[in-house]
């Protein structure tokens, strides 16, 4: 009944996450965005709004606004960094891989890059929802587009 491979506190809150939380990248709301989507996690009230410009099937610019815990906000900040310049099909593949990692699967480290910092969250099911909130929002936005 003992949990295997306990993540360390400092693992979970690696400097990278805390950095993104303290100094978020791409924080803001774009004017005349192609997609604009807001989602929240009813369990904890975390909120994320994403605005993005899509050109030739590629995300050319993306910004986020929101409030919530360090995981949800840092994850959103990291998402914006990572998907800028990506083709939509690659965004899809990345999103699937990210979710699988948080579900406990061994991730493709090459593909994940910085996002590896969030792997420790997979041990805390309640917080998985925080980590995927931004990705849920993006997926929903792109589907509706």
């Amino acid at each position: 009944m003992m949990p295997q491979d306990e993540p360390k506190f400092d693992e979970l809150y690696r400097e990278l996450i805390l950095d993104h939380y303290r100094y978020p990248h791409n924080r803001g709301v774009l004017e005349k965005p192609d997609v604009d989507m807001q989602q929240h996690n009813p369990v904890c009230g975390d909120e994320i709004r994403l605005t993005a410009i899509i050109e030739d099937g590629t995300i050319s610019q993306i910004e986020f606004m929101g409030q919530g815990c360090s995981i949800s906000q840092a994850s959103a900040s990291m998402l914006t960094d990572r998907v800028t310049g990506l083709e939509l099909t690659d965004v899809d593949a990345l999103s699937v891989e990210f979710r699988n990692m948080l579900r406990g699967d061994d991730p493709d480290e090459q593909m994940m890059q910085d996002l590896m910092a969030l792997q420790g969250v997979s041990k805390y099911p309640v917080r998985v929802k925080c980590a995927v909130l931004a990705w849920d929002t993006l997926q929903k936005a792109l589907k509706l587009k």
Binding site: P3, E6, V126
Partner: protein, 411 residues
């Protein structure tokens, strides 16, 4: 008879009753528990206890993991497609009531029919009677043959377009009859009726494959299959559970709550209101592991062997003992209800108790069946994996002795 040699796994078997070794023959009412299950339960409280879901701390994560892992084990045990089709309730009775309340009140209207059998346990009768009283629907019965099997000759007439629910027991807790449920489910499904199986005596004793059965809903109790008391299961097809209204409301089953409205979680959590019985569910997971290790085919074979032996021995007693239910072990489980001429079942049970033999006497929560059998009560011995030939021998010896004791009171 192959000995299951699991008896020593069950601590209670060392118990003496009136200085005699315990001969436990009431597993149809509730089963005994192996040490691994008892220890898992105690260890959980000693090491991992915390409320499940939503806790962002180690104990709560451990507790949640144990609870949700048990759900996966139960799903695999009955070959459910996914663990999200497994609802934890208190017992079979609550599972069946959940259907009557949550599905019944949305889908049944006046004049509709619910088809059951006369060999149902009260738990698969009263929920429908309550529903019919409220809505004005009709409860109909499949007939029963002399040998304790169902009379399916007119099934096509019984299941009409008015039939909205067909609900019956996988195995009778009195007759031991194993019903041809697959065939009946198929007819029910075809007619567009909801197919419900009371698996209280099915899941513990027979291999169950809900996908093969194609059953809509299947209910059973942990306490009858080596698990703790206070845990029931309701399996349901995904499309049925997701369309079903909630039943009990409260914590755990909601998504968002405002002062005037709320939204619910998805199934199965939608149906699990309030703090679940997570410690017992975790221990039930261990009971499932234990049964998986033995293999349900072996459980079934053991019960065929021991029941055959018991039937043979009873037949040898020089008394006009009536054994109820089918004689063919292909369609009979390890339940042996009988009438001992001239001795009331209560007296039979009481005299056997003196010999350490624990059998049940009464109506076995099946009063309508008792009436059809023309008796007010019966005595009943029932078997499980820990019972062996010696148990049967002690049962037979005690029965003979009691017969002599009450001998000339027979009339």
């Amino acid at each position: 008879m192959k000995d299951m040699s699991v008896r020593s796994d069950f601590p209670i078997m060392d118990r003496l009753i009136h200085d005699k070794p315990l001969t436990y023959l009431d597993s149809a009412a509730t089963s005994q528990k192996p040490a691994v299950v008892i220890d898992a339960l105690a260890d959980f409280y000693r090491n991992n206890n915390a409320n499940v879901h939503r806790g962002i701390y180690t104990l709560s994560e451990e507790s949640t993991l144990a609870y949700e892992t048990a759900r996966v084990k139960v799903a695999n045990f009955i070959n459910a497609g996914s663990e999200e089709q497994i609802i934890f309730t208190r017992n079979t009775t609550e599972s069946l009531n959940l259907i009557a309340y949550a599905w019944g009140r949305d889908n049944i209207k006046e004049g509709d029919e619910i088809l059951i059998t006369p060999m149902e346990h009260h738990s698969n009768m009263i929920p429908w009677m309550l529903l019919c009283k409220e809505i004005g629907c009709k409860l109909k019965y499949i007939s029963i043959n002399e040998d304790g099997t169902l009379d399916l000759s007119n099934l096509d007439e019984l299941i009409s377009e008015n039939t909205k629910i067909v609900s019956l027991t996988h195995m009778s807790n009195v007759l031991g009859t194993i019903n041809p449920i697959k065939q009946i489910i198929e007819k029910a499904n075809k007619a567009g009726a909801l197919s419900v199986i009371d698996g209280a005596q099915g899941a513990p004793h027979l291999p169950v494959d809900v996908i093969d059965l194609d059953v809509d809903l299947y209910a059973f109790s942990a306490h009858k299959m080596l698990g703790p008391t206070g845990v029931g299961v309701l399996y349901g097809k995904e499309k049925i559970l997701s369309a079903m209204s909630p039943f009990l409301g409260g914590g755990e089953m909601i998504d968002e709550v405002y002062e005037d409205r709320f939204t619910t979680k998805e199934a199965p959590w939608k149906f699990e209101a309030g703090t679940p019985n997570f410690a017992d569910v975790a221990a039930f997971g261990v009971a499932i592991d234990y049964l998986d290790d033995i293999g349900m085919d072996n459980v079934r074979q053991h019960e065929i062997d021991i029941t055959q032996y018991a039937l043979d021995q009873v037949r040898k007693i020089d008394r006009d003992i009536t054994v109820f239910g089918p004689k063919n072990l292909d369609i009979r489980g390890g339940v042996l209800a009988f009438d001992f001429p001239g001795v009331h079942p209560h007296d039979v049970a009481q005299m056997m108790d003196w010999d350490g033999v624990q059998i049940r006497a009464g109506h076995h929560c099946a009063q309508p069946l008792m009436r059809r059998l023309g008796v007010s009560a019966t005595a009943r011995a029932s078997f499980y994996i820990y019972n062996n030939q010696e148990d049967v021998d002690r049962f037979i010896d005690s029965l003979k002795k009691g017969g002599e004791f009450f001998g000339d009171a027979s009339r």
